[in-house]
């Protein structure tokens, strides 16, 4: 007989459009982070470290890289005889075939998957945060309160609380009220989008609301449970938790890893973060290289200068190149004598020689000022930048660009060249 106390459902289908060209060909959870990791490694590692060995990963948007990365779950010890990791894409049905239209709808479409494992509790996770959390402690809290639903929350500064969905609780942490992005917040406990449901409660709610268009946990399921009078509790998490949903926060949280003793420490023996390692060899630092505060992944070769940057695996930084305050992801090449400042260069890019990225005056992005900001230069996966071009701040490049794309060899601040991926 198959029985799992708690299984996890990890929502990994979102595009993450606020990461701009970084997610034009990959789902947000598959975006690289911290040199060798991908964002989804954090919730997956949390699962196995918390003793949750059955994880359904719901995919929808651009799943190729995610599927390749997860495989059968070997890096996280999630290759199990019973349970382990399963990729759950939307599928065609006899009557109403549809995409996943909302977070709860996606879970609803996989009721059979959950039923198969006969769980007591279901843990709902997102794939867009960097954190280390013991879900088992949260489950104990859930059980101790005899709760129907437990929502993980984190205290945020009161002045920032209006950016979040906050919960108002009684002294026993039972939730009395919800407020979504309140102008005048009455509490600073923000929901982290992590829920533990008692399976029977979740199942009943999903079936009842199955006709709800775009059924969403925050908008529909939780309010439904609340109105019904279910016991909903707020579990307070105190630790590092970072949303990497925007280019600015993504860049910032990468930079924080470089601190002498970072708040989010990857070097602790306890609570290891696992990932699929394709590159094994050590990195090579040449005799002329200068490295001043950096994280550098396996197999990279550094001939130039690296200042305050996060460099992935298998990256090549040519002689005379200067990389400053930047993120260079796996397999990218920075040409000789090229300068990169505040660049976010996605995987397998080739940046030509004698280029200048991120220098000069700043100007807001003409197409998406809210996405491409913080003076970053963002280059999407597999892009090519020709030799000797100058690229300004708040710019985005995606695809194989040639010199013809750069009027007189310059991409002015705030301009984009999008030649690949979904042109959105």
């Amino acid at each position: 007989m198959i029985k799992k106390e708690m299984i996890a459902m990890l929502l990994a289908g979102g595009q993450g459009s606020r990461l701009g060209v970084l997610t034009s060909d990959v789902a947000k959870p598959a975006v690289s982070f911290g040199g060798k990791y991908r964002i989804i490694d954090f919730p997956l590692s949390n699962c196995i470290n918390s003793g949750v060995d059955t994880v359904g990963v719901l995919t929808q948007y651009q799943p190729l890289k995610l599927n390749t990365h997860i495989g059968i779950g070997i890096p996280w010890d999630l290759d199990r005889n019973i349970g382990g990791v399963s990729i759950l894409p939307p599928y065609e049905k006899k009557n109403n075939s549809e995409w996943y239209t909302g977070t709860a709808n996606a879970i609803y479409q996989n009721l059979k998957y959950m039923e198969y494992y006969n769980p007591e509790y279901v843990l709902i996770l997102g794939g867009d945060h960097i954190y280390k959390m013991d879900y088992e402690v949260m489950l104990e809290f859930h059980k101790a309160n005899n709760a129907d639903v437990t929502i993980a929350t984190i205290p945020v500064p009161m002045e920032e609380a209006s950016r979040f969905g906050v919960v108002i609780t009684d002294e026993k942490k039972r939730i009395l009220e919800f407020e979504e992005k309140p102008p005048k917040p009455r509490s600073n406990l923000a929901s982290m989008g992590i829920y533990i449901f008692t399976w029977k409660v979740l199942r009943e709610a999903l079936i009842t609301l199955s006709e709800q268009p775009g059924c969403d946990f925050g908008k529909h399921i939780i309010p439904y449970c609340h109105e019904r009078g279910d016991r909903i509790f707020a579990y307070e998490y105190n630790g590092y938790w970072k949303d990497v949903g925007t280019l600015g926060s993504y860049w910032e949280s990468n930079m924080e890893l470089i601190d002498l003793i970072p708040e989010f420490n990857l070097y602790e023996e306890f609570w290891k973060v696992y990932t699929k390692s394709d590159v094994i060899p050590p990195q090579y630092i040449s005799g002329d290289a200068v490295i001043d505060r950096a994280l550098i992944g396996e197999g990279s070769e550094i001939y130039g200068e690296v200042h305050n940057s996060v460099i992935g695996c298998g990256v090549y930084v040519g002689p005379g190149a200067v990389v400053r305050d930047s993120i260079i992801m796996n397999g990218s090449v920075i040409g000789d004598r090229t300068i990169v400042e505040k660049g976010v260069i996605a995987e397998n890019c080739v940046i030509g020689t004698d280029c200048e990225l991120g220098l000069g005056e700043s100007a807001p992005n003409v197409e998406k000022p809210n996405v491409y900001c913080f003076d970053l230069v963002t280059v999407g996966e597999d892009s090519v930048v020709p030799d000797k071009v100058k690229i300004g701040k708040n710019t985005a490049i995606s695809g194989g660009t040639t010199l013809d794309d750069y009027p007189s060899g310059v991409l002015r601040a705030g301009q984009n060249i999008i030649k690949a991926g979904d042109r959105t």
Partner: protein
């Protein structure tokens, strides 16, 4: 593939000095992120040899730990797999492995229960890449009984620790001398052999009856005029780790771009156990020049012309020159290290100095209490 594999990993050599105290040579860390046996195992895997036995004897704890899962080399298969054979006492045998031939003889059932027609025998203490299929094709073309992979050494190299061969025009081995005192031969045996499985069983059974136990002396040399023993000449990089000097040099060879690219970038890859360590971290004041640095390292000081293995902590104001620092070493502040090999899991105190004088490599074994971290 038409062959099974045997990796001889039982050996120890007192020329490895203190480094051999805690592990067999096959478990010696190499090139920052690997262990010596990874090269033979990766070659087996990349040559589609699916069934491989590793014969261990000398202090195999570290080796067993490294081989605790066979998935890293893709041997976790229903067809074939990785077999670890330590010496065991049986009803009719209570000896350790008395030699390389005896080691295989004591596991004769492995050979008898297989159905593949050929056997690739390799040792776990060599660093190289080789497609064993090419050797097998040569073996079949020459209608050889045994094929020995050989390598021509440059005249300046010291060949006294190898077996030397002389060939006729066809490539058949005419003379085979093990560690000769003086020789004019320059072709050495790399310790990699291909032989038909039934032939091997027959030779081993006969050797055992005659109480002969060494593969080189009692099979290759003894049968060289009776059997067709051929040399397959390999011309790519090959290095044998059996002395401190060769171990040091082999690691330093990886600072050479040509050799590094050959192993790290060219197809096929070399595989190793994955340790799940974070990327190397360089803090303020860190300087690295012409060095290999592995995952999990935290660098605060100066590293020059050196190879740092995994999880090395280099304290503030430390200088490391022309040295090899093995896995999981903590080096306290203000320490100076030159021409040394720092043994794994060492804790080096602050303000210490270790220098290998007169070009001699110093091996540092320091098991202090580790307070930091």
């Amino acid at each position: 593939m038409r062959a099974i594999g045997i990796v001889l990993a039982g050996g120890n050599n007192n020329k490895m000095r203190e480094l051999s105290n805690k592990r067999a040579i096959a478990a010696m860390p190499v090139a920052g992120s690997y262990r010596s046996i990874d090269f033979a195992l990766s070659n087996m895997s990349n040559s589609h040899v699916q069934k491989v036995a590793v014969l261990t004897q000398y202090n195999s704890r570290s080796l067993n730990e490294h081989l605790s899962s066979s998935k890293w080399w893709d041997f976790g298969r229903k067809q074939g797999g990785l077999f670890l054979f330590n010496p065991t006492i049986t009803a009719d045998n209570s000896f350790w492995y008395r030699g390389t031939a005896d080691a295989i003889y004591q596991n004769l059932t492995f050979l008898k229960n297989s159905h593949e027609p050929y056997v690739v025998i390799a040792s776990g203490d060599c660093v190289y890449k080789l497609d064993y299929n090419k050797v097998l094709e040569y073996h079949i073309a020459k209608k050889a009984d045994i094929t020995v992979v050989c390598k021509k050494m440059a005249p300046e190299e010291d060949t006294s620790r190898f077996g030397l061969v002389k060939l006729d025009e066809d490539g058949r081995i005419q003379e085979f001398e093990e560690k000769p005192l003086a020789t004019n031969a320059s072709m050495i045996s790399t310790g990699i052999y291909i032989i038909r499985r039934r032939q091997l069983i027959e030779l081993l059974e006969r050797a055992n009856e005659e109480e002969r136990y060494d593969f080189v002396k009692d099979i290759l040399i003894r049968y060289k005029n009776v059997k067709r023993i051929y040399a397959y000449e390999m011309d790519s990089y090959w290095s044998n780790i059996s002395t401190v000097e060769s171990y040091y040099q082999t690691n330093m060879d990886f600072l050479n771009k040509g050799i590094r690219d050959y192993f790290f970038k060219e197809y096929p890859d070399v595989y190793s156990k994955i340790d799940d360590l974070p990327p190397a971290k360089f803090n303020q004041g860190a300087i690295a020049k012409n060095s290999l640095i592995s995952s999990g390292c935290i660098i605060n000081g100066v590293v020059e012309n050196s190879v740092l293995f995994k999880k090395v902590y280099v304290g503030n104001n430390v200088t490391i020159k022309n040295s090899i620092v093995l896995n999981d070493v903590h080096i306290g502040d203000n320490t100076y290290i030159e021409n040394c090999i720092i043994e794994s899991r060492d804790t080096i105190r602050a303000n210490a100095t270790y220098v290998g004088e007169n070009g001699k490599i110093k091996i540092v074994v320091e098991k202090n209490e580790r307070y930091a971290l």
